[in-house]
């Protein structure tokens, strides 16, 4: 069997990066929510905020841990599998990622220890500060990595010398044309993902009639957040789409399934099977002219289609087309839920309506799925280019023996499948266990700098030896 190292390396990268993005897209938003709860607790002394923060910090910790270990892999994969790419673009992407590590990773890691384990080691305000720093760290790291990705989508501020990229203007590199849209879109996506994770679990508790005051508080807050965030995200997404249309017209054509080199009166396709052989769509169902209206903000605006470029310069159209529909579909589902929540709230039935609670529970992982689908649109849509219109992905792969890449790919698939199973298992376990009781929270003496008498490690206290030691003190 003939193995192609380029394909294998790309599958491996796609697989490992997809696995990785699951976790940051939750932690960026969850860190923000935890910071909000902790801040509200400090301000209002309402213990339910503390309970929310203390409960969600555990799923946050395991999610963050998964993000760290899967992220280290990525920072090395550029070199191991795409050595020519790193040599060509190292002068541009290297410093951007170095700034990510310097300004974000260390900060997150340095203050995470205090955030997770320091409740009884530092004062309340200092602990809150640590939480804020971790939150800011997650935002900053998102910023730099989006800068790097956006530069590959819409390269700017560079010159090419001896086949290698050099920087002419760092401002142009960092604030490249697609960066502001992609960054806000991704940050919002993370907030929304975390909001729906929290809302979903709270709705689950309400369905099961467990931890009711805690769940009510969480669900109510999250539905308010969703009401603000989801319509805003649709608006940002629309602007991002227009930006794509301007800078990466082929990607946009694939997203919308537009084949003719230039098409007026573009319909909005609800269903279609884009066929790359016949260069047309099968089973097309669409709303006439709505595509033109959305994309050009005029009734019969013209849009560049896929046939404007030769077949070898087109991405995999069905994948991009369907990923885009999955993302948008989930997005509108979320908007629907947010408005439904408003309606039920006004009727006073937000916490009782079982079908609604079941729907919200069902939407727990939907944010993650939408983020993945969105990134497939971005990344597959950029193909066959690695740096848009400048460098082809097929040209920059390390000439490794294919069987070695196949081997590591298989190991990654096994390990990551296992890890995802373990992650879900422990998330379920934490959810089943539920939030810490109010009594336990009171006994923890949070922020008192109290040495040694914490009760959080329940298991540790079951250990008789340690108990004896405590007694001796």
């Amino acid at each position: 069997m003939d193995l192609d190292v380029a394909i294998l390396s790309r599958i491996q990268f796609a697989f490992t990066v997809s696995f990785h993005i699951i976790f940051p897209s939750i932690t960026i938003g969850l860190a923000t929510l935890i910071a909000i709860w902790e801040g509200m607790w400090l301000k209002t002394h309402n213990p339910y905020y503390l309970q929310l923060a203390k409960f969600w910090i555990k799923p946050f910790a395991i999610t963050f841990g998964m993000g760290v270990v899967s992220g280290i892999v990525l920072s090395y994969e550029f070199g191991t599998n795409f050595s020519k790419f790193s040599e060509m673009t190292g002068a541009i992407l290297g410093p951007l990622m170095a700034y990510e590590v310097l300004t974000a990773f260390f900060m997150e890691a340095g203050f995470l220890g205090v955030m997770l384990f320091g409740w009884q080691r530092v004062g309340r305000k200092l602990h809150f500060f640590a939480t804020l720093v971790v939150m800011t760290g997650t935002w900053i790291s998102a910023f730099w990595i989006i800068v790097a990705n956006s530069w590959m989508q819409t390269p700017a501020g560079y010159k090419i010398i001896d086949g290698k990229f050099e920087v002419e203007s760092w401002m142009a590199v960092i604030f490249n044309p697609s960066m502001p849209y992609r960054f806000t879109h991704m940050l919002m996506a993370s907030f929304i993902t975390a909001t729906f994770v929290v809302a979903g679990i709270c709705a689950y508790y309400l369905l099961k009639k467990q931890h009711i005051p805690f769940a009510k508080k969480g669900l109510s807050m999250c539905m308010w957040f969703a009401l603000v965030l989801t319509p805003m995200q649709a608006w940002i997404g629309d602007m991002h789409g227009l930006n794509v249309q301007h800078h990466q017209p082929t990607k946009l054509a694939a997203m919308e399934g537009i084949w003719p080199a230039e098409e007026e009166n573009v319909p909005l396709l609800l269903f279609a099977m884009p066929n790359m052989e016949t260069e047309s769509n099968d089973y097309e169902v669409g709303i006439p002219n709505l595509g033109s209206l959305i994309l050009t903000h005029s009734w019969d605006g013209a849009v560049q289609g896929l046939k404007a470029v030769p077949p070898e310069d087109r991405p995999n159209v069905p994948l991009v087309f369907w990923s885009f529909r999955v993302m948008v579909g989930i997005g509108f589902g979320m908007i629907g839920i947010a408005f439904l929540a408003l309606l039920l709230r006004r009727k006073g039935r937000l916490f009782e309506n079982k079908p609604f609670l079941a729907l919200v529970t069902l939407f727990t992982p939907m944010g993650v799925i939408a983020v993945l689908a969105g990134w497939y649109v971005v990344e597959i849509g950029r193909q066959p280019w690695i740096v848009y219109n400048l460098v082809r992905t097929s040209e920059i792969v390390s000439p490794l023996p294919p069987e070695r890449v196949l081997f590591t790919l298989i190991v990654f698939v096994i390990i990551y499948t296992l890890l995802l199973g373990v992650y879900i298992y422990f998330m379920r376990k934490l959810i089943k266990k539920g939030p810490p009781s109010m009594k336990a929270l009171e006994q923890q003496l949070i922020g008192m700098k109290a040495p040694g008498y914490a009760l959080a490690w329940v298991k540790l206290l079951q250990n008789k030896k340690v108990q004896n030691k405590e007694g001796e003190k």
């Binding site: 090395y76 410093p95 170095a98 700034y99 340095g110 890890l419 030896k465």
Partner: protein
């Protein structure tokens, strides 16, 4: 100062910080099988659970500094050592997730213990293997004849296996000294006992590796022994022995349970031993990033990139050191004193 040389120093600093910090932290995993009584493993894990993440960040930092400042070396080194690097990453994944899952597990705890300790040991071994094969040099990068440097198994030699085990022993020594500092009673005594044995193994391994390189690598031999070089470089081996003697003395004479002032000394002495060994290595390899093939000057990024990163490095590296230090201070003292969780 020359920009490329500055980044060479930054890279060296990043690698040393990684080796020191993740060294003791991987070492805890290597020592794991020798601690099996009730609660001992909880203690070991808890001694590092708040710092492992930050420690591993130095590995990422080393990687991206190489990527940013010396992209040619980054691409070459990483693709040449594809399999050992991937193996190291797999191992790091297992030990990393063990921190989170172990404390939340009931029945699966033995598996997380295994994941933690074997992951740590394998990661340490791979790092030693990489070090050894880098010192030995890699097959010509541009050779089109027969053995391509990407497809041969040149990194698997008796020497690289020796360096693999040496690094494991060294990390375990750091960990024993760290535990000695962070524990009381039985665990502390046991750490001292293990530390002394590991010190002997580490010193013997350092001597063996040094002799082996000096005998087999002509360039490194000339660097050390031509002219007055050896006289100038002699402080390195001499101070190493002094550092080793300090470690031994403090671990060996520790019987006084009232006096805790000396308990951090072995760790710092062992860290100095590492620093000296690392300096000796750099002396032998300078100015190459890939021995005999690629110097740091050749691999360096254009000035526009190095200058852009300069303020970041100058401002943030000291800042990072400061808050890392603060983080360690928050959890200063013995592990038993901060056993609360989150």
């Amino acid at each position: 100062m020359d920009l490329a040389f500055f980044y060479f120093l930054v890279l060296g600093f990043a690698i040393f910080m990684y080796v020191l910090l993740d060294g003791f932290d991987l070492g805890i995993g290597i020592l794991y099988p020798w601690f099996h009584q009730d609660g001992e493993r909880d203690h070991l894990m808890r001694s590092i659970s708040h710092v492992w993440d930050g420690n591993e960040t130095w590995l990422v930092f080393g990687g991206v500094i190489l990527f940013a400042a010396f992209p040619a070396a980054y691409g070459d080194i990483l693709s040449i050592f594809y399999l050992p690097i991937m193996l190291m990453l797999f191992a790091l994944i297992f030990r990393g997730v063990a921190f989170e899952y172990r404390f939340k597990s009931d029945t699966s705890r033995p598996y997380w213990d295994l994941a933690f300790s074997s992951g740590s040991a394998i990661a340490a071994f791979c790092q030693g293997l990489l070090l050894g094969s880098l010192v030995q040099g890699v097959p010509a990068l541009t050779s089109n004849l027969g053995t391509n440097s990407l497809s041969s198994l040149h990194w698997l030699t008796p020497f690289s296996i020796l360096t693999g085990f040496s690094v494991m022993a060294g990390y375990a020594l750091l960990a024993a000294c760290y535990l000695f500092m962070k524990s009381r009673g039985r665990i502390q005594q046991h750490a001292a006992y293990l530390g002394k044995r590991l010190l002997i193994i580490t010193v013997l391994a350092m001597v063996a590796v040094s002799l082996w390189t000096v005998i087999n690598e002509t360039e490194i031999r000339e660097r050390w022994f031509s002219g007055y070089n050896f006289l100038l470089l002699s402080p390195l081996p001499i101070l190493s022995l002094v550092a080793a003697a300090f470690v031994w003395k403090d671990l060996h004479s520790h019987t006084d349970y009232e006096d805790h002032s000396n308990e951090s000394r072995p760790f710092w002495a062992a860290a100095s031993l590492f620093l000296l060994g690392f300096a000796g290595l750099v002396v032998g390899l300078f100015p190459y990033l890939i021995p005999r093939q690629l110097t740091f000057m050749e691999a360096a990024s254009p000035d526009s990139s190095l200058l852009f990163l300069l303020p970041g490095v100058c401002i943030f590296v000291p800042l990072i050191c400061a808050y890392t230090f603060w983080g360690y201070r928050v959890f200063a003292g013995k592990v038993e004193d901060y056993q609360e969780g989150y």
